[in-house]
């Protein structure tokens, strides 16, 4: 079952614009992660934010986390055609001695020239 739902399901923007994707989840978490997937490939980790953090930056990526609303957002600034991919949030819950990672439904981002 999905822990997170992403919004929007699909997003099309022009190169140079910012892209914002949102993730909502249902249960308590210890961390939230964002991944990227190019068509037909494995997922690649982008950024991790802990439950006691509110904002994190990595290059052109900015992630926010609001645990009271059970939501997170991923902002990609100055998008490039190469950013075209699917983006997934994943919630991490410490359970049974491990970190259970459950993925959302994903947002398909298309960046056009």
């Amino acid at each position: 079952s999905q822990q997170g739902e992403e919004d929007p399901q699909a997003l099309s923007i022009q190169e140079g614009e910012n892209a914002t994707m949102n993730c909502s989840y249902k249960t308590s978490i210890n961390n939230l992660q964002w991944y990227r997937q190019n068509s037909g490939r494995g997922l690649v980790h982008l950024i991790l934010i802990r439950s006691n953090e509110r904002e994190k930056h990595s290059g052109r990526l900015r992630v926010t986390l609001d645990t009271s609303k059970k939501s997170s957002s991923l902002l990609i600034t100055a998008s490039r055609a190469a950013d075209t991919a699917s983006y997934f949030c994943a919630t991490g819950r410490l359970t049974g001695g491990g970190n259970k990672l459950t993925f959302g439904t994903g947002t398909q981002l298309k960046v056009e020239l």
Partner: protein, 116 residues
């Protein structure tokens, strides 16, 4: 260049046959995940291991699926008997769960399974 290796990359099999997918996690990683990805269901967590012990396999159909880690360098996912609805891309991922207790997962390229 450390990476998670999955074999085979593609598998076409007939309904009823046994399918075994293999995964070599990154050396030193102590956590292994198995996911299944389909258009309809997205990414589903099937099972995950820490230090080779299964922690959660609640997402896995128990009657036909089994996941094991015979040793630290090999994880297997087996389907017996396979059915057309098992057609999907199966991903293995590994991670290092440390004192910080936060793990990023490194994914393999996946095994694309088609059951006809």
């Amino acid at each position: 260049d450390a990476r998670v290796t999955q074999t085979p990359r593609h598998k076409v099999t007939e309904m009823g046959q046994e399918v075994t997918m293999r995964c070599q996690p990154i050396l030193g990683h102590n956590t292994v995940f198995w996911y299944r990805q389909t258009m309809m269901q997205g990414l589903e967590l099937l099972a995950y291991f820490r230090n080779r012990a299964p922690l959660d396999d609640s997402g896995m159909p128990k009657d036909r699926f089994s996941a094991e880690m015979p040793d630290a360098t090999l994880a297997t996912l087996k389907i017996q008997p396979s059915e057309p609805r098992d057609s999907a891309v199966y991903f293995c991922a590994s991670g290092l769960l440390g004192q910080g207790m936060n793990t990023e997962a490194f994914f393999g390229q996946g095994t694309r399974l088609t059951v006809v």
